[in-house]
Symmetry: C2
Subunit: 329 residues, 2 copies
């Protein structure tokens, strides 16, 4: 069960370690004859370079930490976002030859672990996924001196990619008003997240501009919280005729509450969500929502990080928002 070393390959091929190393790493200054004999030895021995040894010598790991905030907190407490983002990020990173180390950052403990892990030199870079605004992690990681990017803007600014939360909310609310809705409520995400804040700001902005009153309930991006918040809103203002939920999952919860309360959608109450997850197609009625291209989003964030490795720009990227009109509003 003893794995062959580079030295064993060298011995078998009758060349020096250096030459084997060159062949393995694709150096061009190698005579074809040597390359060939080395490659054969590699094949015969089933040689695979030892990762740790290589990392030690090169001081690079070819790995990237994908740090995702864990429920109950965090935008990605919702499944669709979690899987879309993690999947797409993994795909792109793997395609770029980077290994993905997944880390959940929930408790303070786990944050410390992430920091330690990064400090230990395990990874060449870090991709954060929608951390909370007040999160300490971005700052403490940035100090380590390795490239770090964030999907979703963070407070102590690290390079990020975000979608146009403000513009999206604006779009949604204007749509509702254009349909003649007068009392438009909103269900927000957790307010320590910048995305939630921006979506709320977009909502209040339009209402203020058009001289409407805002009706706000706070959720946490989960279905249950959407259902609860909707109940709350109906109690606060039984006459409301529209709801803008800061994400689709909460919109789904809201739909349920509305149905239970005997309100028809969209006749009595119009509902608009945000994100355009697949499930938005399958609600009754199908959900009108702000499309945010999760996969593109994750992809762009990976690109930003890969760019940083190459000394590229750390300019933030903003993805445009777009309203998808279905039947709920």
């Amino acid at each position: 069960m003893n794995r062959p070393t580079l030295e064993a390959v060298a011995a078998r091929a009758g060349v020096s370690k250096s030459s084997v190393s060159r062949v393995i790493n694709g150096a061009t200054t190698v005579a074809p004859s040597i390359r060939e004999v080395v490659l054969r030895a590699v094949r015969e021995l089933g040689y695979v370079p030892h990762a740790a040894a290589r990392n030690l010598a090169t001081r690079r790991t070819n790995a990237v930490a994908l740090v995702v905030s864990d429920p109950p907190k965090g935008l990605v407490s919702d499944d669709p976002m979690f899987s879309a983002v993690v999947r797409q990020a993994s795909r792109k990173l793997e395609a770029a030859g980077k290994q993905v180390v997944l880390m959940l950052a929930g408790s303070e403990d786990s944050r410390a672990r992430v920091a330690r892990y990064v400090a230990a030199g395990h990874v060449d870079g870090v991709m954060l996924v929608s951390m909370h605004g007040a999160d300490s992690l971005p700052a403490s990681l940035a100090r380590k001196g390795i490239p770090i990017v964030s999907l979703g803007r963070t407070n102590p600014a690290v390079p990020y990619v975000d979608n146009d939360n403000l513009g999206g909310a604006d779009l949604a609310v204007r749509h509702l008003l254009r349909q003649g809705r007068r009392r438009v409520a909103t269900i927000t995400g957790p307010l320590d997240m910048i995305a939630s804040q921006e979506r709320l700001t977009g909502y209040t902005g339009v209402l203020r501009e058009t001289g409407h009153r805002s009706i706000v309930a706070i959720g946490d991006f989960t279905r249950v919280s959407g259902a609860d918040a909707m109940r709350q809103l109906l109690q606060d203002d039984p006459g409301l005729d529209a709801v803008f939920a800061a994400n689709d999952l909460m919109a789904v919860g809201a739909l349920r509450t509305l149905r239970e309360a005997g309100r028809r959608v969209p006749d009595d109450v119009a509902v608009v969500g945000f994100d355009d997850i697949e499930a938005a197609l399958y609600t009754t009625p199908p959900l009108t929502t702000v499309h945010s291209p999760m996969a593109d989003w994750a992809g762009a964030t990976v690109d930003l990080l890969l760019g940083l490795f190459e000394g590229g720009t750390d300019e933030p990227v903003l993805l445009p928002a777009e309203l998808v009109v279905r039947e709920s509003a």
Copy 2:
């Protein structure tokens, strides 16, 4: 930007490298005075052990590969399962001090990459998530001689944890018959997956036993495929009065098709799903389904792997199935 080494700590503390190493690794044979002076030096220098160096010396990595099959193929093409499993597995592995390297196994390419990665000694163990029955990966990995477990049974057997697919399907179909349904159809998962096969076997088993005809359409565990399959079934047998979908996502798709076709659920057609994802609560009507405890499932798989590290048993584990009756059947 030069990170302190163990040697620097030793110098600062005025002791040998060995002593520092002992303190860092919590050896008991260290005088309190030395331990203290070392710890202070560590603190002052902000020392963090270099991971690669340690891995090289110990030949252990403290990392585990979490290999998940990527869409379009694979049970976990569905979000809820993906996130529940990945999340829970990560949590437990991290709690056990293991790092999680996430790898998507989609194409043949990526399978080769996984194999190479494991061979490179990057990880101490591998956790597979519901690979296809015919997958080559389990076999090729098993040959590397490191612990490997699978969530969901695989064909060349590696130690696994699975839920009782057969029993669950049995439960579901009997429930439908008990309600007086006569023409019970099924929508299967991809048939190269063992889970799909077992659920189908459970279905046909009961029908044969009770002298009913089976009506089968093949899906792939996605919502869309469920909707398509349902259309197919309605065409094949317009008189059917019940459907057992091999997972909830397809059940959701089926519900939509039924609604579009003007069939009332459960009055005209009863629907039962499998998995009990959160969304099953939010369909109209809420979905009757076989509960499979994803998180427990993932957790048990992690436990199996951790057990293997300690020389524990490789006995497969089977989780019991349970029917959750809601309104759709």
